[in-house]
Amino acid sequence: MIDRINEICPEQYIEAVKCVSMSEDVFNEHFPGFPVFPGSLILEGMAQMGGLFIEFCLRRRGLKEKRAALTMVNRMKYREMVRPGDRLDYRGTVKVFYPDDGYAVLMVEAKCGEKLCAEGELMFGFLDVMDEKMKHANDALMELAFTNVKIVE
């Protein structure tokens, strides 16, 4: 649900992009003759971005077996409609990051140009990955997601 991660500053923030296209299947139903990109998919995009970001930060701390699981969505507010052709800029900023206690909270926002479309707070708990296949799939996904990403130290 995200097209590209643009920039990352470990344990501080992440920025990603989602381009909304009229050809997306969701517009067949949501809504016929009046296409609006669903808020649930904006949330999903920001949660995917947040999960990848948290796992990236955990890996840098040597915690390679941990996965970030979305445990709470707090005060999510949708402010503007998102229409086909819009480019959504997602940003997640760390509010708390506690690797020892097993959780992190991100403030997230989705903007279209200067227009704030959605904002809220996402909490992630850290779980141990038990399954070998899942570990490999996760390694591949992390490599793909963070190729050519600008890392700000």
Binding site: T71, V96, G102, Y103, M123, G125
Partner: protein, 124 residues
């Protein structure tokens, strides 16, 4: 509102309950209320944002006490006595495992940890 009552209110949405009467001070978070490990991160965060004190998972999973004085994985007489004094109870007994204690850790005991932390923060 006292710490215990406010804590019971905070636990409602985390545990998926609707009435404060369903959470009594002597209920065990794990055994009576069904809290799972993933719920504890929400509980800790709710405490941090509402009471302004940071509690680590070690403090409520008894690891700190456990690290101090455990023989063959169970509580010693001295540690049980210390816990009883700290939490103003008589339920801790020598021979209990750290896991048993965590699973029977009550809402009142969690409120005690929060109150103590708040006092520590005030005095520092």
């Amino acid at each position: 509102m006292d710490v215990e009552t406010k804590l019971r209110e905070l636990l409602l949405p985390v545990l998926g309950l609707s009435s404060i009467d369903q959470i009594q001070p002597d209920h065990a978070l794990v055994n009576d209320l069904g809290a799972e490990s993933i719920d504890f991160v929400e509980i800790l965060y709710a405490i941090e944002t509402n009471f302004g004190v940071k509690i680590s998972i070690q403090e409520i999973s008894m690891v700190e006490y456990g690290a101090k004085d455990v023989q063959e994985g169970v509580l010693t007489e001295g540690l049980a006595e210390m816990l009883n004094k700290d939490f103003d109870t008589e339920r801790f007994k020598a021979g209990q495992t750290a896991r048993e204690i965590f699973e029977t850790f009550t809402v009142r005991e969690l409120a005690t940890v929060v109150s103590r932390k708040m006092q520590e923060q005030k005095s520092s």
